[in-house]
Assembly symmetry: C2
Homo-oligomer: 131 residues x 2
């Protein structure tokens, strides 16, 4: 297993939250499971922009943190389902709030991204000089 070189501050709530659901695809996966998409292959079809491997890795991390539970059906077809735990459910309103904030500020952020590729000095408007 990979061993961190830089210590994390696991007393800071934000650090803990980011560790549990702050990775690139975890919010998508949590949201999809909440919408009833439960199997890895289904999740992969839903989130086609990343690989199945990535989804599986994130799922297994979410399981270890207790955000989702895994249900294995031994019959045919080979089938596994993931469900949100209460802890997982409690993340949903936070994701919704993050999403709402992002959409509200979407224009400003996209504009900055454009400025950056055109001319950096256009940003100087953001600072003021006082005597």
């Amino acid at each position: 297993m990979y061993e961190r070189k830089i210590k994390e501050d696991l007393d800071c709530g934000i650090t803990i939250a980011m560790k549990v659901f702050g990775a690139k695809w975890k919010p998508c996966i949590i949201d999809a499971i909440a919408r009833g998409i439960r199997r890895p292959s289904e999740l992969h079809r839903e989130i086609a922009t990343t690989s199945l491997r990535v989804i599986e890795m994130q799922l297994s991390e979410l399981v270890t943190y207790g955000v989702v539970t895994k249900k294995i059906y031994t019959g045919f077809p080979l089938c596994v389902e993931y469900f949100l735990t209460p802890m997982g459910e409690s993340i949903l309103p936070i994701l919704e709030q993050l999403n709402a904030w992002g959409l509200k500020n979407k224009d400003a952020v996209q504009q900055v991204n454009n400025y950056q590729s055109i001319e950096k000095d256009a940003l100087s408007q953001y600072s003021s000089i006082c005597q």
Copy 2:
């Protein structure tokens, strides 16, 4: 300037939010500014676990996104102050919610971290097998 190889989905609110304030020290910095700590050197004293360079870089990013404004005093001593914009203020309740979630689930997460360094199979309790 660094140019991304992997495209970002700037239509997803969560991605946007994470881009703006999802970096390692940005929540600390935003929170500190909200508490009235405004100058880079003060912020560095407050957040002593990282370097001044890091704080300056994050601050300049926050300025470009419009989260904080920069006020330059040309007199002596050389002095600069950062303030939250309304957009910056609107991040505070989200940070508070993230922090609260993390603290509420702190024990569970810390326990997982301990399990991981002792025995990985202790985690198998999280999945169930069904017929």
